[in-house]
Structures are given as structure tokens and as C-alpha cells.
């Protein structure tokens, strides 16, 4: 009998005590809620009638696909998560779930989410969801994250795709509107995550992740945040004059874009430690509100357009 076999018997088999909550934590519920929200907006602004059952199926598939990506990401990053304060409490570093268990869980959910969207809705959306999962897990997690400071710039594409998947699920084709949604999230990601990385740079340095503040320093990061914010505000405003989104969206985008610009300038200007930290935290928090408000405006307008004719025709109320 080999030493390994003897040791295995002496130690006894390792049996999981992981609870349902641990598996739910693997799905990254907060990221998942943002994905559901942006995908919902993608569905709401899509033209034509989309049956509610198919809409729910699409949202559920996209949500499960996003959760599966999160589980696969945690399975592949257990070593990094254990070194960072922000992630040390996740199920794998805590020893609640093993990496193979997380891999099996994530792979199973990925398979079923793509299959369900493909069979029940359409295969264009199913294929795009599969590509989104592949991009997040393979391109971002396995390749870019540990290799380049541009990790979240390119990797941001995965987070920007859910509203496009939702639009394709509803229409079976692509159009400029979901591309605008994609671009808004894509250019929102760098200032948002670099703001986080600025006040968590010790954490990232300890884990050996080449985030921009770790590799290029805080000053270069502040400049990049400012430049990306200028592009973001321009991109988020452009669909209004170009006629894709209306004036209400334009007004919200203009006002909140001015707020984003002001906070990004503050982050760039304030170099003294305490003031810099305050400015960075403000920008991080405001960037969440900014994205939420832009998408909520589009979603609410779509709901009003759907519901208003029912009131006018006397079918409701």
C-alpha cells in the first residue's frame, strides 16, 4: 500500500458540510443582481412583443449563467481570494467548499443556463451567453487578471454583455441600442474598479494581482480614471443627440455625467492621503448610482411606454 493510500485512510474521507448558503455565495449574488438589472433593461427597451414567460426564462438563464461564471471564477481564484481581506470570507478560502466542487457546480450551471436559453428562447442568445461565460472565465479570470494591468478594461466586456444577450433573446438580432448599453458598461468598468483598486491597492499587491495602482502607481491611475470618465460621460450622452434614447435619458445622463466628471477631477486633484481616500470612495459609490440611474431611466421609460396605452384605452383603472 502506498504512503498516499495509507495517509488517505488515516485521515478518513473528506465529506462536505457545505450548506446551500455557501453555494449561493459562490454565485456572487451582488454581481448577479446587477446583471439581472442590466439584462432586464435590455429586455424592456427591445422592440416588439416578448411573451412574459420567455422574458422570465431569459432573465433566469442569464442570471444563472452569471452566477455560474462567478462560481468558476472563485474556483480558479481560491489562492488569490485567501490573500485578500475583501475576499477571504468566500466559501473556498474558508474551507466550506473545495475548488473541484466549485468547478463542478459552476460547469453544471453554465451548461444548463446556455442549454435552457438556447432551447427555450433562441440559439443566438444561447451562443452569446456561452461566449460571455467563456470570456469571463477563460479570457479574464485565467488569462488577463494575473497578467496585465489592462485586466479589467478588456475583461469589462464580459460584464457589459448581459443587456446585449437579453436584447438578442427578445429580438433574435442585434441593433445599435444594446451596443450603446454595452459601451456604457464597458467604459464605466475601468473608473469604477480602479477607484476600488486605489483604496484596496495593498490587498491587490499582497495577492500579486497587477491592478493599475499596483503596477503604475496611484497618480497614473488617477489620470486614467479621469480619461476613462471623460470617454464614459461622452459615450453615455451620445445616444441622446444621435436619436437612440430620448431627452429624459439625455437630461439624466447630462446631470449625472457632470457629477461623475466632478468626482473624477476631485480624485485627480487630491493627492493628500486622507482627502484622496475620501474622493476615491465618493467616486466609487457615485459610479454605482450613475450606472443604476442611467439604466433605470431607460427601463422606467420603457415601462411607461408599455403601460400608458393601456390607461388611455381604458383597459386599466
Amino acid at each position: 500500500m502506498s504512503v498516499i493510500e495509507q495517509n488517505a485512510i488515516a485521515a478518513g474521507p473528506r465529506i462536505s458540510e457545505a450548506d446551500v448558503g455557501d453555494y449561493l455565495a459562490l454565485l456572487k449574488p451582488r454581481v448577479m443582481s446587477l446583471v439581472i438589472f442590466t439584462a432586464l433593461v435590455g429586455l424592456l427597451i427591445a422592440p416588439g412583443h416578448f411573451h412574459p414567460v420567455l422574458a422570465i426564462t431569459s432573465l433566469l438563464s442569464i442570471a444563472v449563467g452569471a452566477g455560474a461564471s462567478g462560481a468558476l471564477n472563485m474556483a480558479l481564484e481560491g489562492d488569490i481570494d485567501a490573500k485578500m481581506t475583501r475576499t477571504a470570507n468566500r466559501p473556498i478560502p474558508r474551507g466550506r467548499i473545495t475548488r473541484p466542487e466549485a468547478l463542478a457546480f459552476g460547469s453544471t450551471l453554465s451548461f444548463f443556463s446556455v442549454l435552457t436559453l438556447g432551447i427555450l428562447v433562441n440559439w443566438y442568445a444561447g451562443a452569446l451567453l456561452a461566449f460571455t461565460i467563456f470570456f469571463y472565465v477563460v479570457i479574464y479570470t485565467m488569462w488577463l487578471k494575473r497578467w496585465t494591468a489592462q485586466n479589467i478594461v478588456i475583461g469589462g466586456a464580459a460584464g457589459a454583455l448581459p443587456p446585449v444577450v437579453a436584447w438578442v433573446a427578445a429580438t433574435g438580432s442585434i441593433a445599435p441600442e444594446p451596443v450603446w448599453l454595452f459601451l456604457i458598461i464597458f467604459f464605466w468598468t475601468p473608473p469604477h474598479f480602479w477607484a476600488l483598486a486605489l483604496f484596496r491597492s495593498d490587498d491587490y499587491a499582497r495577492a500579486g494581482i497587477p491592478m493599475l495602482p499596483v503596477v503604475a502607481g496611484p497618480d497614473a491611475t488617477r489620470l486614467q480614471i479621469l480619461l476613462y470618465t471623460i470617454v464614459l460621460v461622452g459615450i453615455a450622452l451620445a445616444p441622446w443627440p444621435l436619436g437612440y434614447f430620448d431627452a429624459i435619458y439625455g437630461a439624466v445622463s447630462l446631470v449625472l455625467g457632470a457629477g461623475m466628471m466632478w468626482l473624477a477631477i476631485e480624485v485627480y486633484r487630491k493627492r493628500e492621503r486622507a482627502a484622496s481616500l475620501r474622493a476615491t470612495r465618493k467616486l466609487f459609490a457615485f459610479s454605482i448610482l450613475y450606472l443604476f440611474a442611467l439604466f433605470a431611466t431607460l427601463g422606467l421609460e420603457a415601462v411607461v411606454r408599455m403601460v400608458a396605452p393601456l390607461f388611455w384605452s381604458g383597459r386599466v383603472g
Binding site: 474521507p13 465529506i15 462536505s16 458540510e17 453555494y23 414567460v53 444548463f112 427555450l120 440559439w123
Partner: protein
């Protein structure tokens, strides 16, 4: 937490019958909750496929690609 199941196989006495692995109370409870969650997820999947079949009717077999 990954617990060690109580392992009653005694390798020193090969003629005794093996009792196999006996799970602790915590492991049994966790396994039961996981099994219920899997059953619920499968139930949702079945309901979803049934509902979409009703919505689409015969068109469920006519999909793009």
C-alpha cells in the same frame, strides 16, 4: 467546513465486515438541505420547460439555427 466522516473500516482486522462511512449529524443535515435545493432547482427547470412549451405550442420545435 470539510469534516472528516467517521470511518469505521478497520484495516487491521480484514475479516470484519465494513460499516462504511458514517456521516455526522452536521454532514447529514447539510446533505439533506443540498438535496432539497437540487430537487427544487430541477422542479423549476421542469416547470419552465412545460410553461414555454404551452406558450410556444407547436412552434417550440421551430427555432432559428
Amino acid at each position: 467546513m470539510l469534516g472528516k466522516g467517521a470511518h469505521r473500516t478497520d484495516m487491521a482486522e480484514p475479516n470484519q465486515p465494513e460499516d462504511g462511512i458514517v456521516l455526522t449529524e452536521a454532514q447529514l443535515r447539510a446533505r439533506r438541505r443540498r438535496s432539497i435545493a437540487i430537487a427544487l432547482a430541477l422542479g423549476v427547470l421542469v416547470v419552465l420547460f412545460f410553461a414555454v412549451t404551452l406558450v410556444k405550442g407547436p412552434a417550440v420545435l421551430r427555432r432559428p439555427i
